[in-house]
C-alpha cells in the first residue's frame, strides 16, 4: 500500500492539532498569569478545556491511543477546574504546561512516524495527582434562584457552574432579550457579546424557542455588576428587554462607576503576547514550537469565489481585446498597438493567476485513495475475503471538488470489485488462483484528463448472466443479440442489479446507474472491461478541473454552444457528399477510420438550416473521449474562448447533452455541451461500427 495515501489523513490531523496546540499554549500562558489573583477568565479556561477535548476526539478517530489517553486526562483535569472541583493553583498550571509539552512531543513524533510513542506513565500520574485536590464546597445548585426552568434546562453543566460562580461573586444575573434580523444575527450577536464581556461574564447565549422566521430572538444570560440601566446604556438597543435576578440586585451601585471604553482588552492581549516568547523558551528543548506542517486550511468556497473572480477577469479581458480590435479598425493605429500590447501582458498575467488559483485547488488523488484503503480493509474483513490493494499514481492531482464528487462512485466501484468481483478464498483455491485477491487502484494523467482505473483479478463479468437478468427485468428482449460492450452498458441501467439479494455492502440500494450519472455530472466517463474468470476493470476518465475551460464556440441554427476544447481533437470543413450512410447512421472516413456523425441541430431539435445543408459545406468538430471518436456537425465554427462554467442548477440538471451554462465576454450566456453524455447516447447500440 502506498505511503503517500495514508499520509494525507495524517497531515490533516497534524495541521488541525497544531492549530489547537497553538491556541492552547497561548491560553495556558494567560491562565498562568491569573494564578496569583486566583481569578481566571472563564473563557480562557473553557477554551483550554475545549482544546484538550478536540484533540482527544481527533486522536480517538485516528486510533492514537497514547495521545487519546493523555488528552483525556488533561480534559478531565480541566473539566474539574472549570467546574470548580479542582483548586486553581500554581502546581496545577505547571502540570498543564508539562502535559502540553508531552502532547507536542507526541504529535511532533507522529508527524514523522505514525508509530512514534512515549512513556506516558509519569505525566499521567502527575495529572492524576493534581486532579485530587479537595473540591470546593458545592452549593445547592441554583435552588434559590428565580430563573425560568426552561432556561436552566438548556444550560450545560459548565454553564450552570459559571452561573453559580457569578452569584457567589455577588454579581447580578441579567437575562437580556433581543431580537435580530436573520441575515445578520450572528455578527450582531458577536458584537454584543464582545461588548458585554468587558463588563462581566456572558454565561450563556440562548436562542428563543419558536419558529425560525424572518427574525430571531436571543436571550443572553449575563453576570455582571452593572445595573439594568447601565446595560441599556451600554448596548443602546430599542428592542432590549432585561430581566434581572440573583442576589445582587438593582440596589447595588458600584461607586463612581464609569462605562469603560472597550479598549482595555487589546491591552491585555498585547501584554500577553509580549510575555509569550518567554514562555516558549521554557518549553523543553526537545519539543520545538515551530510549525510542523506548512499548510493552510482553506475553505473550498473561498477558492470557488477566487476562481469565479478570475473567471470574470478573463471575461473582462476578452471585452478589452474586442475594444482594441475596434479601435484598430477605426482610429488611432499607434494607440491601438499599445493597447494590444498591454492587453497581451494582462492576458499573460491573468493566465498565470488562473493557473495559480487552479493549482491551489489541486489535491493529490492519494487523499481519495486513502479513504479507499480503509474501505477495502473493512469490506474484505466483513466479507471474509483476502485482498491485496495495489495503489499507483497517488500523487496525480485533481480539482478538489472533483475529488469530493468522485469519492462516492469510486467507493461503490471498489466495494463492487471486492463484493461481486473477487471470489472467496476457497473458490479462488479451487480455480488455481492465489487465495489473496488483487485489486489495483491506479491513477494517471493523460493530457487534460485524469484516468482512474480499478482492476480486480476476480471472476469477471458473467455476460450471459447479465443478459439473462436484463431479459428477466424486461430491459431487453429475449432474442436480442448484444455485443459485449452493450452487455456491460446494461450494468449501468437504472434498476439493474446482478444479485437477487442486494448485498449488505455494495447494495444499500445504490446502483451502478447512480455511479454513472455522478461521473457524467463531472463531464467524465466510465468504461468496463472484463474477461471471464480473470477479472474486470472499471476505467473512469475525468477532466482535471471544471471551473474555467477553453471552449470551441459553435453555431447551430440560431443558437450558440460551447464544446469543451479538451475533448475536441480537430475541426474539419467537409462537403456534404463525403458523408456516407452505414446502417442508417451517417459517418465519414477520416484517415482510414470511420467516424460517426451527430448532427447537433437534430439533437436539439433546431430545424433552421436543415434544408440548406445539402448544398452547403459543413463544419465538423471531431470530439474524442477515451478511445471513442465522433464528429459533431455544426453550422459555423465561431472560434475559441475561455468560458466560466456555471452549473445549470437543479431545475435544469436533467437536460440531456448539456453540461452547464457559460458566460461569454459579451454578457451572452450560452450552453456548454456534455460531450461524454452526447457521445454515449449516440453510440448506444452501434458498437458494430467499432468506433
Amino acid at each position: 500500500m502506498s505511503d503517500t495515501s495514508s499520509s494525507q489523513a495524517l497531515k490533516d490531523f497534524i495541521s488541525e492539532t497544531e492549530e489547537i496546540i497553538g491556541t492552547l499554549n497561548y491560553d495556558l500562558v494567560k491562565l498562568a498569569d491569573a494564578v496569583e489573583t486566583g481569578d481566571c477568565d472563564p473563557d480562557v479556561l473553557n477554551g483550554i478545556f475545549r482544546g484538550a477535548h478536540s484533540i482527544k476526539g481527533l486522536a480517538g478517530m485516528f486510533g492514537f491511543d497514547d495521545l487519546s489517553s493523555l488528552s483525556h486526562a488533561m480534559e478531565n483535569l480541566l473539566d474539574g477546574l472549570r467546574l470548580g472541583k479542582v483548586p486553581f493553583t500554581q502546581p496545577l498550571v505547571d502540570t498543564l504546561f508539562s502535559s502540553l509539552d508531552v502532547l507536542i512531543q507526541l504529535i511532533d513524533g507522529k508527524s514523522n512516524d505514525e508509530n512514534f510513542t512515549l512513556d506516558l506513565v509519569p505525566i499521567l500520574a502527575l495529572i492524576d495527582q493534581s486532579a485530587e485536590g479537595e473540591a470546593s464546597s458545592a452549593e445547592d445548585p441554583l435552588a434559590g434562584l428565580d430563573i425560568d426552568p426552561g432556561i436552566l434546562n438548556v444550560l450545560t453543566e459548565y454553564e450552570e457552574h459559571r452561573l453559580l460562580e457569578n452569584i457567589r461573586k455577588g454579581r447580578a444575573i441579567h437575562l437580556l432579550r433581543m431580537d435580530f434580523e436573520l441575515s445578520s444575527f450572528d455578527q450582531e450577536l458577536a458584537e454584543i457579546t464582545e461588548q458585554l464581556k468587558q463588563q462581566g461574564e456572558v454565561v450563556s447565549t440562548l436562542p428563543s424557542a419558536g419558529e425560525i422566521g424572518e427574525r430571531i430572538a436571543f436571550q443572553i444570560l449575563f453576570g455582571s455588576e452593572l445595573k439594568r440601566s447601565d446595560i441599556e446604556l451600554l448596548l443602546s438597543r430599542d428592542d432590549l428587554d432585561i430581566s434581572t435576578c440573583g442576589r445582587a440586585d438593582v440596589e447595588m451601585e458600584p461607586e463612581g462607576f464609569v462605562l469603560e471604553e472597550p479598549d482595555a482588552r487589546p491591552d491585555t492581549a498585547m501584554a500577553t503576547l509580549e510575555r509569550l516568547p518567554a514562555a516558549v523558551e521554557e518549553v523543553d528543548a526537545g519539543s520545538s514550537m515551530r510549525s510542523i506542517s506548512r499548510t493552510v486550511r482553506v475553505d473550498i468556497d473561498k477558492l470557488d469565489l477566487l476562481m469565479n473572480i478570475v473567471g470574470e477577469l478573463v471575461l473582462s479581458k476578452s471585452s478589452i481585446s474586442n475594444i482594441g480590435d475596434r479601435i484598430k479598425a477605426s482610429a488611432d493605429k499607434e494607440l491601438a498597438t499599445e493597447l494590444a500590447k498591454a492587453t497581451r501582458i494582462l492576458e499573460r498575467r491573468l493566465h498565470e493567476l488562473q493557473k495559480g488559483v487552479m493549482d491551489v485547488r489541486m489535491v493529490p488523488v492519494g487523499q481519495l485513495f486513502d479513504k479507499m484503503t480503509r474501505i477495502v480493509r473493512r469490506v474484505s474483513n466483513e466479507q471474509g475475503k483476502k485482498v491485496d490493494l495495489d495503489i499507483r499514481g497517488a500523487d496525480t492531482e485533481l480539482d478538489k471538488l472533483i475529488i469530493e464528487d468522485v469519492s462516492d462512485p469510486l467507493m461503490h466501484i471498489i466495494r463492487n470489485a471486492i463484493d461481486h468481483g473477487l471470489e472467496t478464498p476457497e473458490e479462488r483455491r479451487q480455480v488455481g488462483k492465489p487465495e489473496k485477491g488483487h485489486v489495483q487502484l491506479w491513477a494517471s494523467q493523460k493530457g487534460n484528463h485524469v484516468v482512474i482505473e480499478v482492476h480486480d483479478d476476480g471472476r469477471g463479468i458473467d455476460t450471459e448472466g447479465v443478459r439473462r437478468k436484463a431479459v428477466e427485468k424486461g430491459l431487453i428482449s429475449e432474442g436480442q443479440s448484444l455485443s459485449e460492450e452493450e452487455i456491460y452498458d446494461l450494468l449501468f441501467m437504472a434498476g439493474f442489479s446482478t444479485r437477487d439479494e442486494v448485498s449488505d455492502m455494495s447494495g444499500r440500494g445504490v446502483g451502478m446507474d447512480v455511479v454513472k450519472n455522478n461521473i457524467a455530472a463531472l463531464s467524465g466517463m466510465i468504461e468496463v472491461k472484463s474477461t471471464q474468470g480473470q477479472g474486470s476493470s472499471m476505467i473512469i476518465t475525468l477532466p482535471i478541473t471544471l471551473a474555467i475551460i477553453k471552449a470551441l464556440i459553435v453555431q447551430v441554427g440560431d443558437k450558440t454552444y460551447a464544446i469543451p476544447i479538451n475533448s475536441v481533437l480537430e475541426t474539419l470543413m467537409i462537403d456534404a457528399d463525403v458523408i456516407q450512410t452505414v446502417e442508417k447512421r451517417e459517418v465519414i472516413e477520416l484517415r482510414k477510420s470511420t467516424v460517426p456523425l451527430l448532427r447537433l441541430n437534430q439533437v436539439f431539435g433546431l430545424d433552421s438550416e436543415e434544408e440548406k445543408t445539402d448544398e452547403k459545406r459543413l463544419f465538423v468538430a471531431i470530439v474524442g473521449l477515451a478511445e471513442k471518436r465522433m464528429g459533431f456537425v455544426v453550422d459555423e465554427l465561431l472560434g475559441q474562448q475561455d468560458v466560466v462554467i456555471k452549473s445549470l442548477g437543479k431545475a435544469l440538471s436533467f437536460v440531456q447533452g448539456i453540461a452547464g451554462a457559460a458566460e461569454l465576454g459579451n454578457q451572452k450566456t450560452i450552453l456548454v455541451l456534455d460531450v461524454a453524455g452526447l457521445m454515449t447516447e449516440a453510440l448506444r447500440g452501434e458498437s458494430s461500427l467499432n468506433v
Binding site: S54, M61, V154, T156, L182, F185, D186, I212
Partner: protein
C-alpha cells in the same frame, strides 16, 4: 433517490469531514456543514433539513441550545436530531436527550455507528 437534506454541526473540521464522509455512503444525502451552533442555526433558517447531527461542545453556541431551538420550531418538531457527545459527558448527553434529541453517538465516531443510528431514524 432519497433526497434528504442533512445538517452536520461540528466545530472540528477533521471530525466534520469524517462525519460527512460516513454520511455520504447513504445515497441521496445532501449534506450541509456548519462550524458551530450559531452557524448551524443560520443554515437551518435558510433551508429545511430532514436530519440534524450536532456536536455538543462547541464555541459560541453549543449543541444543547441548538437542540432546544430546533425542537421548539414548529417546522422542526419531528426532525430527527442526533447529538455527538464525548463518552464521559453523560450529564450533557442526558440533557440533550431530555431536550428532544432522538439519538446520541459517542466519540470517537465510527462510521458504522453513524450509519446504524441514521438508519434507525430514517428510512434509507
Amino acid at each position: 433517490m432519497t433526497g434528504y437534506k442533512v445538517l452536520v454541526v461540528e466545530d472540528s473540521p477533521t471530525m466534520r469531514q469524517l462525519i460527512v464522509f460516513a454520511l455520504k455512503r447513504i445515497r441521496g444525502f445532501q449534506i450541509v456543514e456548519a462550524n458551530d451552533g450559531v452557524d448551524g442555526l443560520k443554515k437551518l433558517s435558510a433551508e429545511k433539513f430532514d436530519l440534524i447531527l450536532t456536536d455538543i461542545n462547541m464555541p459560541i453556541m453549543d449543541g444543547l441550545k441548538l437542540v432546544s431551538m430546533v425542537r421548539n420550531d414548529p417546522n422542526y418538531k419531528e426532525t430527527p436530531i442526533i447529538v455527538i457527545t464525548t463518552e464521559g459527558a453523560i450529564e450533557d448527553r442526558e440533557r440533550a436527550l431530555a431536550l428532544g434529541a432522538n439519538e446520541y453517538i459517542t466519540k470517537p465516531i465510527q462510521t458504522m455507528k453513524i450509519l446504524e443510528t441514521v438508519k434507525k431514524l430514517m428510512s434509507v
